[in-house]
Symmetry: C2
Amino acid sequence: MSKYLSKRLANLEPYAPGEQPQEQPYIKLNTNENPYPPSPWVAEAISDETVNRLRLYSDPCAKSLIAAIATHYSLEPEQIMVGNGSDENLYFALRAFCDEAAPLAYADVTYGCYKVWANLMHIPSHIIPLEADYTLDPKKYYGLGETIVIANPNAPTGIALPAAEIEKICAANAGSVVIVDEAYVDFGAESCVPLIAKYKNLLVIQTYSKSRSLAGGRLGFAMGDAALIADLNRVKFSLNPYNVNSLTLLAGKAAMQDEDYFRRTCAAITDTRAKTVEALCALGFEVLPSKANFVFARTDKMPGGALYAKLKENGILVRHFDAPRTADWLRITIGTPAQMQTLNETLTKILATEE
Amino acid sequence: MSKYLSKRLANLEPYAPGEQPQEQPYIKLNTNENPYPPSPWVAEAISDETVNRLRLYSDPCAKSLIAAIATHYSLEPEQIMVGNGSDENLYFALRAFCDEAAPLAYADVTYGCYKVWANLMHIPSHIIPLEADYTLDPKKYYGLGETIVIANPNAPTGIALPAAEIEKICAANAGSVVIVDEAYVDFGAESCVPLIAKYKNLLVIQTYSKSRSLAGGRLGFAMGDAALIADLNRVKFSLNPYNVNSLTLLAGKAAMQDEDYFRRTCAAITDTRAKTVEALCALGFEVLPSKANFVFARTDKMPGGALYAKLKENGILVRHFDAPRTADWLRITIGTPAQMQTLNETLTKILATEE
């Protein structure tokens, strides 16, 4: 670091994203990308004409995209704001609803960025350990009087809470905001969007990166009471008014409108997930019950770090989190059936060599 | 605002971007967009195949784009980072080099976001008034011991300092970072990029929004000593690692490589600017000497706000900043020759009606 860096950032530990090899032909099961391309409507929306219109600024209010999202979720446009990835929506929410004197509560095993953002903004973290079986006990979140963020389904475990349990957390924290990060909700969990009408303190955040195959487009959205969304826009217009580029606005609108493609690709992934879990169990893996487009799995036969390295040697990238409660485990993205077949064969080979 | 908003943000005044009508057919001379489309190489780079690859995350290190920028500016890749618009690069820089105890110095009449960001991050602002003729006296920036940001050319005045004057400011502030915001530099001002090798405290920030016709793509870049860039990456990877989407990475690379198109379109705009200044002077306007793709002009015949409104009625959008030192003036983007001809005819008509 340079001698000019703010002393307040000296101990900041940035987030380490999953490996993103730009050239090597790995089977990439490490960052929960969708194995299927985005809806064909997306490529249709991005024409030479729309590219040439990049000379103009993007719509800072994202009106047309927000209208499409509002239609899909039966919300008002005032209940939605879009971000440069759901990471930005989450960052805006923490900026708006937390500060040095207003802590953030979250699980010990969850999305790593919550802690990084809290540290960057000098927000105190109230870390609530998951149970021994990696489930989240909702009662531990009742009456906290603090902003709460819950990934549902959780990452990297894949375990989901029923919406009724999140509802009880909202009801038990009427004085503070409950943020539900639904990045993976479309693969079988219950969304809290229908609760928005009832709870003014509920903010639901979703992303186009997983179920809509647009990780590279960088698009997320926050949904909640219009007053919460106005707060988020206050931060956005103080930070980066033109936060989403024009092509992504078009891509997002097209992808949201193609409901049939969305349903079919989500169904294909949940189907492949079921078969993957079956195959992993047959190989002796313990697999947590996943409602996401990944599974969290471990085996007694090899430590997580060693198995990660062996898979990488064999051309398959998965994610290993080297922390006390996750070091034994691997997070494996659900790819195509063919990719998962290769994974199965490769694991069989690696574990056979061990015996 | 909701009752949940952090008390520390209660007085925050967000930036008001220029009007971005999404439908009405205005001649749009209000947000300094380029009247020419991006290089044809950009549309070529964005194919159905690259759109379908949006299922994968964008490269968080932007390696390929940064290599193209490094080649153009004869820098090392370690001396460059890219942002979601230069607004994000500037925000990252203020986050890295300022804090509650480390103020930011800037002019009273300049890009409005500096103040908004300082307020958002609780950074004290040291505001240094421009001279009566809107020029910046470099000596007022010597030995400040504070992070400095200078827009060069300045906005909304269009007036540029010679690089030699910025160099003296860098030399006279070796203990603090000097940020030069060169959003408009390609229209005739001197860039400070050649000074980067000599001054470890110099950070130059440029954008694709103006001279490279990609305002809607949201792409900016910071250039400076590798240690400063490492600090910015520390902030970026703590905030939004995947900050630039994949299509914009491709667009930016193609636009940077098409040097000939870049030179031709910049030359066309400076040529139109000269003719526009001549025409405005013939109508009795005072016009500040501009090195940007806009001019700052006023007339005794009508107050700035009234003239802005009249032009809008006549289908032409320009920018009016309703603050004490700018209320008399209009900032007018340089469009195509035909658009500027219409502006000239419209102004002639409006001012004739007044007399």
